[in-house]
């Protein structure tokens, strides 16, 4: 399924917005005001954008440590995200969570786990809840190639297939888990890719192409809503910055600079921008307007975060239990 012109512009807008937010965080991170371990999403924007474009607010997303893109694409509030990174009471998680634990239940951001692979079964259970409640909502799990090493992935997928759950497993294969390349962790292509055949809709796609992501996801979501069970979409992409923190904090020497450069040249945001400009769907003027709008929004969010109050003194003791 191809996106409409409007959807294309929206895809691009989402990607660019994620990119600009990430860049701003990166550029300010060394000031140490954001005292939380950030895992930036630069290079992977097409995935969050393409996936979430196919979802409704009441569909659920479960994600991981690298969640800024998922949170924003799914409709999460930017002010609340930035306040969370600044450890403020107005943060989406009240300052309890930090960058690795963003939440926005109203928009279906059901939470993230910083335990690699930990969110996969949780998203699966969310799908079970939808099915048991007779709803046509979809549960999406975002996870990395590192998380695919974990047995929870195998166990979850087996269960989702068994119960025909409306879950879409979106694997962002960015080639690395911290400083470990996929080849030192996976014995080859993901076993499920070939394995489940007729029973599981699987796609291995270029994760830097938002329209490919959109198309695969649209199919997966339609199947899920129709009660046809889970899907597995492997998006090949690249983490352009370091694993955590800003670029200058990334240890040197674990990956080939040429590899990084090659992927930088394949920047999904720039590429899609070129495409839309060439297709005449986007004008230089429109782009400038968009950039200005995003810059203003980001300024506002950072200002909001900075001006927000710190958690109250007694906050520590709250929220252990739900009444």
């Amino acid at each position: 399924m191809l996106p409409t012109a409007e959807e294309k512009l929206q895809l691009f807008r989402t990607m660019l917005r994620i990119r600009r937010v990430q860049e701003r965080i990166e550029s300010e991170y060394m000031q140490d005001e954001m005292k939380t371990p950030v895992h930036l999403y630069i290079g992977q924007e097409a995935i969050a954008a393409g996936v979430c474009a196919c979802l409704r607010d009441d569909d659920a997303v479960n994600s991981n440590h690298r969640s800024h893109g998922h949170y924003l694409a799914k409709g999460g509030d930017l002010n609340a995200m930035m306040a969370e990174l600044f450890c403020k009471a107005t943060g989406c998680s009240g300052g309890y969570g930090g960058s690795m634990h963003l939440v926005d239940v109203a928009h279906g951001n059901m939470g993230t786990s910083a335990i690699v692979g930990g969110g996969i079964p949780i998203g699966t259970g969310q799908g079970l809840a939808f099915k048991m409640r007779g709803l046509d909502n979809v549960s999406v799990v975002f996870f990395g190639d590192g998380a695919a090493d974990e047995g929870t992935f195998y166990e979850s997928l087996n269960f989702a297939l068994l119960k025909q759950l409306p879950v879409v497993y979106v694997m962002e294969n960015n080639g690395w888990a911290v400083c470990s390349p996929t080849a030192t962790r996976h014995s080859g292509d993901n076993v499920f890719h070939a394995g489940a055949g007729d029973r599981l809709f699987t796609a291995k796609i270029d994760g830097n192409e938002p329209e490919q992501v959109f198309a695969a996801m649209a199919k997966a979501v339609a199947r899920a809503r129709a009660g046809e069970g889970p899907s597995f979409i492997e998006c090949v992409t690249y983490r352009i910055l370091g694993h955590a923190g800003c670029l200058q904090q990334d240890p040197k020497g674990y990956r080939d600079p040429a590899e990084v450069e090659a992927w930088r040249a394949r920047c999904p945001v720039c590429a899609y921008q070129r495409t839309l400009l060439a297709q005449g769907l986007l004008s230089e003027a429109g782009l400038a307007e968009l950039e200005a709008e995003l810059a203003a929004e980001i300024d506002t969010a950072f200002a909001f975060a900075r001006q927000s109050p710190l958690p109250a003194a007694d906050a520590l003791l709250k929220n252990l239990f739900c009444e």
Partner: protein, 351 residues
């Protein structure tokens, strides 16, 4: 495995059952029936409740606790699972986030070690970690598999591990009345609750009202009044401690027996108030001694009730060893009435 030869089915002793004052003529059901009734009522009353677990729809149905529920409420709401405790625990967490109220049965706590990541890193933290944005109402259940050579991997009493985890509630019932009321309370609770039962409890028959009722999580009960020493006993050791106390009464020692019922939150006030009267404390638990439940209760009293204490605290717990399989070794391993008696004598007479 002829469990009936390990311990015959018996009526519960006539000890005090909070909330059931005039209970001598009530309806008596087995421990398994009490749980089964709680589950059945929860399933009947709340469409969000479901029951999952390896074997919940077996003919044996978790020692009877889940028997036939799938026939009554359907295979959608009472379902068997793959042997995948790690992910299925996460599935329960996710289903809870998604508005359901899962009750996940494991037949033994030993298998919960595969669920630790989801229980401790996820379920117990989700509410706090997101500043209260989401709740995880779920119940995990497991039954300690003592006896008949169950050995090291099928008989562990692991409450000492879970007692350490903030964000989890931990319940260990000792009577038929409590197991029904606390199961219904656990299901109604908006937080992750772990219920650990004991295989020996399943040999009991007790007084249980038919209508649904809940009991407060975090409230203990005095099973027997006494002035000389406070005995805090957990799970099936409540019955053993009661028997020990009854026997020592003939020797002029009156032990007060406290059943905390829930370990987390612990009814500290009840214990401290009792120790303030008796001045002596024995703590007994089915788990290992070092770093376990007896450690926490002893430490709490040594901290908050020290001035009442007139003698060293005595801990009576399983030895710090894996469970051996052979019956002679098992016999040497497990603690019961006589060990508690010795513990009481030590606390009271210093030897």
């Amino acid at each position: 495995m002829p469990w009936s030869r390990i311990k015959p089915d018996t009526n519960e002793p006539d000890f005090q059952i909070e909330g059931l004052p005039d209970n001598r003529d009530g309806r008596r059901v087995s421990y398994a029936e009490a749980i089964n009734e709680a589950l059945s009522q929860a399933l009947g009353l709340d469409p969000r409740v479901f029951v999952m677990g390896q074997g919940v729809d077996d003919p044996s149905g978790m020692f009877g606790a889940t028997r036939d529920l799938h026939l009554k409420y359907g295979a959608e709401r009472v379902f068997d699972t793959p042997l995948a405790e790690t992910a299925l625990s996460g599935v329960a967490v996710g289903a809870a986030l998604g508005g359901m109220r899962p009750v996940y049965f494991h037949n033994r706590p030993d298998f919960l070690l595969l669920a630790m990541d989801q229980l401790v890193n996820h379920a117990a933290k989700w509410h706090y970690m997101f500043g209260g944005a989401a709740c995880v109402p779920l119940v995990f259940w497991a039954c300690i598999g003592r006896g008949w050579g169950s050995a090291a991997q099928h008989s562990q009493a692991l409450q000492g591990l879970f007692n350490h985890v903030p964000g989890l509630k931990l319940i260990m019932p000792a009577t038929c009345y409590d197991t029904k009321g606390l199961m219904l309370a656990a299901i109604a609770d908006n937080n992750p609750v772990l219920i650990i039962e004991h295989r020996m409890n399943f040999k009991q028959r007790g007084l249980v009202p038919e209508a649904p009722y809940t009991l407060p999580i975090g409230k203990g009960v005095i099973r027997r009044k006494g002035r000389d020493v406070t005995v805090v006993a957990v799970s099936h050791l409540v019955v053993e401690a009661y028997a020990a106390a009854q026997e020592l009464s003939e020797e002029g020692i009156e032990a007060e027996v406290i059943d905390p019922r829930t370990l987390r939150p612990l009814d500290e006030a009840l214990i401290l108030e009792s120790v303030a009267r008796t001045g002596r404390l024995v703590v007994t638990d089915t788990g290992w001694k070092t770093g376990g439940v007896t450690a926490e209760i002893a430490a709490m009293v040594a901290e908050k009730g020290f001035s009442s204490l007139r003698a060293p605290i005595v801990r009576v717990a399983n030895p710090d060893l894996p469970t051996p399989s052979g019956y002679t070794l098992e016999r040497a391993y497990y603690i019961g009435k006589d060990d508690i008696k010795q513990g009481i004598l030590k606390a009271v007479r210093g030897a």
